[in-house]
């Protein structure tokens, strides 16, 4: 025992593979990266649509036809799956963000999540109907 010992402490830096160490972290990384994909897809879609609107009829037809290609179908399928995945994770987390009290009691998380799913179904249905109509 010395008169004035110093504090020594051990710093343990995070390993670069920290996100592989726990399924929860891995899932989080998947969520993060797929959202990057969705964002990129949205930008891509907007750019393409803008270009198409400002082009002549012939090139618009060509562009329209390319929509049916295998690549495009795959791209949209992936986008759809990711978007659905994000909708689900988003709606599952919403009750934690939107907390509604009825007197002293919290409105159950399931109710709030279900309300969102309901709304999602309705909006999707409307879009499908409009799509079929047009």
């Amino acid at each position: 025992m010395t008169p004035e010992p110093k504090t020594k402490q051990l710093i343990r830096p995070m390993s670069p593979t920290w996100w592989l160490e726990k399924p929860a972290y891995t899932n989080f990384m998947i969520r993060d990266f797929t959202s990057v994909f969705i964002a990129a897809y949205c930008i891509f879609l907007m750019v393409v649509l803008c270009k198409a609107m400002h082009s002549d009829a012939a090139s618009f037809q060509a562009f329209y036809a390319s929509w049916g290609s295998g690549f495009s179908k795959t791209l949209h399928l992936i986008a759809l799956i990711f978007a659905a995945y994000h909708s689900i994770t988003f709606f599952n987390l919403t009750p934690r963000v939107i907390v509604v009290f009825k007197g002293e009691e919290k409105v159950p998380e399931s109710t709030i999540a279900l309300a969102h799913y309901g709304l999602w179904a309705v909006v999707s249905l409307v879009i499908i109907v409009i799509g079929l109509w047009v």
Binding site: R12, E21, K22, A24, V97
Partner: protein
Amino acid sequence: MSKTITLEVFRYQPDQSDEPRFQSYTVPYREDWVVLDALNYIKDQLDGTLSYRWSCRMGVCGSCGMMVNGTPKLTCAAFLKDYYPKPVKVEPLTNFPVLRDLVVNIDDFMHKMKEVKTWLIPKKELPMAGSGEYLQKPEELAQYKQFSMCINCMLCYAACPVYGMEPEFIGPAAIALAQRYNLDSRDGAKDERAEVIFSGEGIWECTFVGECSVVCPKKVDPAGAIQQAKVQATKEWWLGWIMPKAK
């Protein structure tokens, strides 16, 4: 021969060596024992040099948080029967500097509590009952009660990769405590706390990994508190933008 279980315990003894190591102990296995009981057995019977913190052994003082098989746990509430017969790995909480063995340095959190002003700053005009207490209806109490249950056990910080990478992040418990006061009908200092919790080191660091709430032994849901604060901050930003004087 009665049953036994093995504990792989993280050792760091700065007086002897700069390098940490693992030490293996075999202790009796009892169905009603928690990991803390096993550590106490080691300390009393096998190796007096093992250091760790503990006190109430009923899940309320917040001292005995450690990593048990890689997950932050209160060791007084982690039963051996949930791991038996496999060995149990016990380490100090991640994301904190280690002072000795299973003891971590939590100075950082103690400073952050003060930064976010975890105390009641009353509104100017508050209705009072005859005996002098501020009135608060049960439904007003319910608004913040959950966030007042934090025992400062630091499990949420150990579970938060953002805090691991950015130690400046104010972090789950401190933000939840700030929200506890923000949501208290008696408190009027939301704006004072906003400077810190809406700052770059505050809520916007959080990417909603959500593990803080998963490991919380008191169901405080700090992740929820942070997201709610984000909504509040966004709302206020828009309101300030649309109606500059609305605040």
